[in-house]
Structure formats: C-alpha cells, structure tokens
C-alpha cells in the first residue's frame, strides 16, 4: 500500500541532524585498511558485518540490516561500470536516492547499524552512507485497542517512517514540522516531534524540546516509557499524555496545536498536552452527529463515575448507612447478603479481585482462548461464587457493571486507572462509609487540580474556566459553534474556521 520510495522521499526532507558537520572535523581515517580495522574493532568483529572491496572502494554493511537485493542491483551492479572511483562518480552512479556524506565515525557507525551501506574511498576522509534498510515491517492493520465504528480503520505500525507518512497523508502542508531526536545511549532510538507551525505554541515546543533533551536513559523501547519520562508529575497515577495508535486522533491533536511524538519501533504515538476530559473523547465523536456525540460523551462520563464509585457506595450503604436503602431494595439486598459469610468490604474486594484476574488473564492469553476464557470464566466463577455463598448476586451485577463501564473509556491508560482507583475508595468506604468516599473524592479532586500537562492545567477547560471550550468537552455542540481551538495548548491561531460560513 505504501511504497518504500515514497517514504524515503519524505525522510529526505530532514536529513539526520547530526550529519551536518564540516570537512575539517572529520575523524575518518584516510587509509581504507586502517578504517576497516577501526570499524571492525568497534563492532567487536560482529559475525554479520560484511565488507566488499572493489578496487579502492570499501563497501561495508551489516547483512541483517540492509536489503541485499537492492545492494546488489542498485549499488554493486552500478559501481561495476565505473572506471575511476571518485566520490563524485560513485554518487552519480549509485541508483539510490538517499545518499549522505558523513565525516564522523560515530554517525557512520550508527547509520550502518540502522541499515545503511557505507562506502569508503581510499585516501578520502568521507564516508558515503546509502540507506537501504530491510523492509521487514508489519503491514498496516486495524487499531486493535482503539476500535471505532465510524471512521478510518488504520493504525500505526512499528516503523517510524510509515507512521510519519500516515500522518503526512492526513495533513498535507508544508507547515508540518518534523524534528528528530535520538534517545537512549544504547538503543539510539529515533524520536520524531511533530507539530504544525503557526498553530503550536512556540513556548510549548521549546519546553518540550528541553524535556526531551534532558532525558538520559540507556534504552527506550516504547513510547509508553517516553510518556512516563516526560510527564510533568511522574509519580501521579493519572496519565498526562495520550498514547494512541490512531493516526486520525494524532492529526486531530496536531490541528488543535498540540504536539505529537512518535518513537521508532513503537505502535503508540504520544499526544500532548492533553487535559483530563480529553481522555474521554474519541475521534468518533466528531464523525457522528452532535446529539449522538454528546450523548456518548455523557455516557462515558457517567460510566466513569459509576465505575469508580458504584461498588464503594454499595459497600458504604451496606456497612454503615442501612437507612438510605429504599424499602423495595431492602429485602432483595438483605436476602442475597444473608448467605454471605464475609463483611461487605471483603466481599467486594474478593469479587473485584476475581474480575481483575479474569481481565488480566484475558489480556495475556492468545486471542481465541482469551475470549472463551473471559466468558466461561466469568459465568462459571460468577455463578459458582454466588451458589457457594461467597458473594451476593447483587454485588456481582454491580461489579460487572463497573468493570464494563471502565471499558467505555477510549484511552486504555485512563481505563486501567479507573479500575485501580476503585480499590482505595473501596477501603475508604469499608472503613468510614460515605464520609470515606467523600474524603477520597476530595483527595482525587485536589490531586487533579495539582496536576499539569506540559505545564498547562490538567483540569482545563473546567478549571481555570474557559467557557468557550466547554462547548466541546462533556458534550459536543454542532460544528458551527466549536470553531475555536481549545486553549489548553495555547494555539497561536485560535480560530479553526469562520463560523459564519459553516452551517
């Protein structure tokens, strides 16, 4: 679906940042024998390191990293015709578009490790790098973890180049900035920072670059790790940046002046700054009509509250505040409880634990087994637990409902947070009833107020109140009214379009 050439052309725009040195500072030896010796030492005589000598040319590469077919056809095949091997001749002959000159040993090595072929011409201090990496990417597929009914069905894969090209396909503008960083002293992972010039706040971009540059880790294997490294409040349980595998979600963010970070080898991109409420929004909300979108958003918020507080309220009411139970519920509740030998708190903890167990097992097991296991395990264990008198059946309904509700959140990280945060609230409810739940609620509220996302308030647009942004928060009003970009990312241009020209 995407040809490699296209991707390469895209990459051509911004060459490696570090390869822009002058000739004078070159540390590449003139002599090819010496050069080869140093290289081999550095690579510790790696078994997959190959050299080819053609007259005064030394071609070096790692055969597991480069596309051998292309090497034979477009490089070696063409070079054979050349009479005199000068730098100029070599560059003109080779039928690969991406050729760079490097004057630094370190850069050259990194590039070779990533899939470049190096050509050293004897008695010169430059190294020609021809990028022909192996094409062993997974093909693009559906975003499994964030599915949508209405909207594009494509997700990121593990290749940075493919992912960027996906974004470029949505946003075709020269203003799309792509800045590249390398993180990890051992993994040397490429990281791309994307933003739209003229929308994204320069202050935020600078702040973000400082953050990225200050990172000093030996390895970066996934964007999720980077997410934790650059969060404002690393100790907090709340996610402060969005991890998504949907390119349309990223593009939506970019168009609102946000920053996106893509990491090589990672299927998740990071979007920031992101406020609390935006974790409950999905791109699909914009694809369906506004009353439906508003309804779905309200549903998600209610589901979140239900998921966090429902079990706790059950425990509190049954342990302390029997007065609040309506008359009609008194007998059914009491009857189902009277078989259970444990206090409500313990009962609820047990059941929540079982549900978490099922969920975790379902996530680890292979897909087909996982589904069977989820259903059978849920029904069998649930029914058996009630019949054995371990739990009351009303609690099963409540716990299952709140588990279900926690899965309505579009963001997986937020969803797991909602499940975790139930447990402290359960304890508070089991010890101090409604008072405890309210205490927990206040703690969460203060905590949310403390949090920032890229030094913007996390609870925006509610606090600090930005009433124009409320139109597209818990509800989504018609497109005519939501013409302003959210102020959270401090976009340079506040208006998306002229509202008078939109119906």
């Amino acid at each position: 679906m995407f040809r490699k050439r296209e991707i390469k052309k895209l990459l051509q725009e911004k060459p490696f940042v570090e390869s822009q040195e002058t000739n004078t500072s070159s540390d590449i030896p003139l002599d090819s024998v010496e050069f080869l010796k140093i290289i081999q030492q550095k690579l510790h005589y790696s078994a997959d390191f190959k050299t080819i000598k053609i007259s005064n040319l030394t071609i070096i590469y790692i055969d597991t990293q480069v596309n051998i077919k292309e090497l034979n056809q477009n490089i070696i095949g063409h070079l054979k015709n050349v009479q005199v091997y000068t730098e100029k001749n070599v560059i003109t002959e080779i039928a690969v578009s991406e050729i760079q000159k490097s004057y630094s040993m370190k850069n050259g090595m990194l590039s070779i490790l990533k899939g470049s072929v190096g050509i050293h011409i004897d008695q010169t201090s430059t190294l020609l790098l021809i990028n022909i990496p192996t094409d062993n990417n997974r093909s693009l597929s559906k975003p499994e973890n964030e599915s949508q009914v209405v909207g594009p069905q494509i997700g990121f894969n593990e290749s940075l180049a493919t992912n960027i090209s996906l974004i470029r396909r949505y946003i075709t503008t020269t203003d799309l900035h792509n800045e590249r960083f390398v993180i990890g002293s051992r993994t040397n992972t490429e990281v791309s920072l994307l933003y739209i010039d003229g929308l994204a706040s320069q202050a935020m971009v600078t702040r973000f670059k400082e953050k990225i540059k200050s990172i000093d880790v030996d390895g970066l294997l996934d964007s999720a790790v980077l997410n934790q490294l650059i969060s404002d409040n690393a100790l907090s349980i709340f996610p402060q940046m969005l991890l998504t595998e949907r390119p349309d979600r990223i593009c939506d963010g970019l168009l609102n002046g946000k920053l996106a970070i893509l990491v090589e080898g990672s299927t998740m991109a990071i979007l920031c700054p992101l406020s609390f409420i935006e974790f409950f929004e999905s791109r699909e909300d914009y694809n369906v009509r506004w009353p439906i979108a508003s309804f779905i958003r309200l549903l998600r918020i209610i589901a979140m509250l239900l998921s966090v507080f429902f079990t706790a309220l059950y425990v509190a009411a049954l342990s302390f505040h029997y007065e609040v139970i309506p008359q009609a519920l008194l007998v059914p509740l009491g009857e189902s409880r009277s078989r259970v030998p444990f206090p409500p708190l313990f009962e609820a903890l047990l059941l929540e634990f079982i549900i978490e167990l099922l969920r975790e097992a379902g996530a680890r097991l292979p897909t087909k087994v996982g589904q069977t296991m989820g259903i059978v395990g849920g029904i069998v264990i649930g029914t058996a637990a009630v019949q054995a008198g371990f739990t009351s059946n009303i609690l099963i309904i409540i716990v299952a409902l709140s588990a279900l509700a926690s899965f309505t959140t579009p963001s997986y990280t937020m969803g797991s947070l909602i499940r975790i945060i139930r447990f402290p609230l359960l304890f508070l409810a089991g010890f101090w009833g409604f008072y405890g739940i309210m205490f927990g609620f206040c703690i969460i509220l203060i905590h949310l107020l403390r949090l920032t996302t890229l030094e913007s308030p996390y609870l925006a647009p509610f606090y600090p109140p930005r009433f124009a942004d409320w139109l597209d928060s818990i509800v989504r009003l018609p497109i005519k009214f939501t013409f302003r970009r959210p102020q959270l990312a401090r976009p340079q241009n506040r208006n998306k379009y002229n509202p008078d020209k939109v119906k």
Partner: protein, 369 residues
C-alpha cells in the same frame, strides 16, 4: 517586610474567580443551621434580617476593596505594617493570624459536630479533625491556584444540592411568612447581627487580593458573589420559615440539613446522609482558605514557609479540638467567636480604611502611591 507584592504571572488568577472565592468562604457551616438563630429575634421577618446582612456585607466588601485599592497590590499584613508601623503592625498581624486560625477551628469543630450528631456518633474527634486536616494540608501544598480551583469546583459541584430544596417547597405554607414586617427594626438588626457567623468569610479578600489579575474587575465580581450568597441565604431562610413552624424551627439545630430529610429518591431513601457527607466539599475551601490565610500571615510576618506553618497549625488544631467536646461548649464557642468576628469583620475594616486613607491622602507618605 515588603508592603507592595509583585506576583509572578503564573501565580495570578482571573478576577471573576473572586465570585467563587467569596461565595465558598461565606457558605459553610453557618449555612447548615443559621435559620433558628435569626428566627429567634426577627420571627417570620427573619428573611428581612438576612437581606439586611446582605447589604451590610456588600458595604463591607466595598470598604475592604477600597482599602486594598489604596495600595494597588498588597494584603492586610502589608497594610497593617505600613499604617501602624512595625511594632503595632506586627501585633495586629499576629492577631489576624490568630483570628484566621480561630475561624478555621470553629468551622472544623462545627462540621465535626454535624457528622457526629447525624451519622457517626462514635467516630472520635481526633479522627475527624485529622482526616480534614489531611485534605487541608494537601490542598495548601498545591498552591494558591489549586486552592482557588477547589473553591471553584466546590461551587460548581454542589449547585445540584439546591435542586432538592424544591422538595420541602411542596410542603411549604406561605402564610407562615405573614403578617409581614411585624418585627421592629431593633429585632431585625439583631437578627442581622446574628448573621455574622454565617456571612463571615469575605475577609479573605484582604489576603487573596494580590493574587488577582485585573484588579478593576474585583469589585464587580466580589459584589456578585455576595449577591449570590445572599440570594441563597434568603431562599433557604424563606423555605425554612414556610416549611417549619416557628417553634419547630427554633428547636431545629440544623434547619438546612433537616430540609433535606424530606427528600426521597427512588434509589436513595434518606438524602440527608448524602447531603451531609457531600457538605465536606462545601466546607473544604472554607477550611483551606482560613488555614492558608493564617499560614500566609506566618510567611509574611515571620518568614516561615507556608508548608511548615501548615504542620505547626495542624498540630495545634488537633490538640485544641480535644478541649471542646459537648454541644454546649460548641455553642458557647460559636457565640464567642461570632462576637470576636463581628469586631474583626464588621468594625475593623472601617477603622483600617480611615487610617490608611489618612495616611495616603492626608499625610501622603505611604508606600506605593
């Protein structure tokens, strides 16, 4: 001590948040049961007393802001220091710190009393005070902007409680309000005086003022806040008078909470249990603001960091909360505090304003003209 404070832009908040600050500091424990105290004096005309007190608070807020405007960007501690000199200023500042702490203590003790009387009679004092102090400490450590955020959410998230006032209205008897204007002026004023404890809180303006952007708009939003509070008080007063009978109202300690007793929802039989625990969110900004203004005083006067003084004050509160155990003691404390607060909040602003004005305009040698 610096009199004029220059705040960093990221510490400043929008002026319209003053509305929420004023409203939350005023609404709190007083609201739970102010009706009977006023009713004792003004009978069925008690709502007029509430209106009078509303006008009075509005005037006081006017004076307070005018005093602050003389300096531009400072707080009470700075003004007292400037007007009365180093020594007397320091004494007065210490007194204000003590007053804030006392307010904190009274609010806390009253809320604990409600919790113990309605829900958990056996939960010990130290536990309840400690759990509230954890919230307060956590809140104060989050900085001024977050504190104001708490007050904002406290208003927004508790507005729905007002909806449930429609339940008692169904059982209200309007003729309880008749005959109107029966009480004489003295009893009306007495009633308004008794509102002191309930309307208290707007003196936070003295401390929060330097943190506000667009100082010109402060007056407008502060007055709006007062208006909103007065509206709620009057509404609750009228509902309580019409719903309860006079004698019954005088016997009802927490009339507002008792109003919720009539609410019955399909899934919650007894709504007052929810209302009382939810009240924590209404109390919280109250507590945090009082504690914060005391700590802020420590920072301004003695250069002790806020984080340290929070711990110190928390310790003092936990120890002193053990001294007041019975309802009689609580009532006594409230009366005593109301008298003290009446002087601080209703009389002192005029004195301070005249001194500050004299110093500024007549002697023309104050700082920051």
């Amino acid at each position: 001590m610096e009199v004029i404070l220059k705040m960093k832009p990221n510490q400043l908040v929008n002026a319209f948040l003053v509305f929420f600050i004023i409203h939350t500091t005023q609404v709190g424990v007083g609201l739970q049961g102010f009706q009977r105290i006023i009713y004792r004096d003004a009978q069925q005309d008690a709502w007029i007393s509430v209106l009078i007190s509303g006008v009075a608070t509005s005037l006081l807020v006017f004076i307070i802001i005018k005093t602050l405007e003389l300096y531009g960007s400072t707080d009470l501690y700075g003004i007292q220091h400037d007007v009365f000199g180093i020594l007397i200023g320091k004494v007065l500042n210490c007194f204000y710190i003590f007053y804030s702490l006392l307010s904190f203590f009274v609010v806390l003790r009253n809320y604990i009393e409600v919790i113990q009387a309605w829900i958990f009679p056996e939960l010990p004092l130290w536990f309840l005070s400690m759990s509230m102090l954890i919230l307060v400490t956590y809140g104060i450590n989050s900085g001024v902007r977050s504190i104001i955020g708490i007050s904002f959410f406290s208003v927004i998230l508790s507005l729905w409680l007002l909806l449930f006032i429609s339940y008692p209205i169904k059982f209200a008897r309007i003729d309880h309000l008749l005959p109107m204007f029966e009480a004489d002026l003295i009893s009306l004023l007495k009633g308004a005086y008794n509102m002191t404890f309930t309307v208290l809180g707007f003196e936070i303006l003295y401390i929060i003022y330097p943190y506000l952007k667009e100082k010109k708009k402060v007056m407008k939003f502060a007055q709006l806040g007062i208006l909103f509070t007065t509206f709620i008080y009057t509404a609750l007063m009228i509902v309580a008078i019409t719903y309860f009978n006079g004698v019954q109202l005088e016997k009802t300690v927490w009339a507002t909470l008792s109003l919720f007793k009539i609410v019955r929802l399909p899934f919650i039989e007894r709504f007052e249990y929810v209302a009382i625990t939810f009240w924590m969110l209404i109390i919280l900004p109250n507590l945090i603001f009082y504690m914060w203004s005391a700590c802020r005083g420590m920072e301004r006067v003695f250069k002790v960091s806020i984080k340290r003084s929070v711990w110190l004050f928390s310790l003092i509160v936990i120890i002193s909360v053990q001294l007041i155990i019975t309802r009689t003691q609580v009532n006594h404390l409230n009366d005593l505090f109301a008298k003290c607060a009446f002087f601080v909040v209703a009389c002192y602003p005029f004195i301070l304003f005249s001194f500050a004005w004299l110093k500024k305009k007549v002697f023309n040698k104050g700082i920051g003209t």
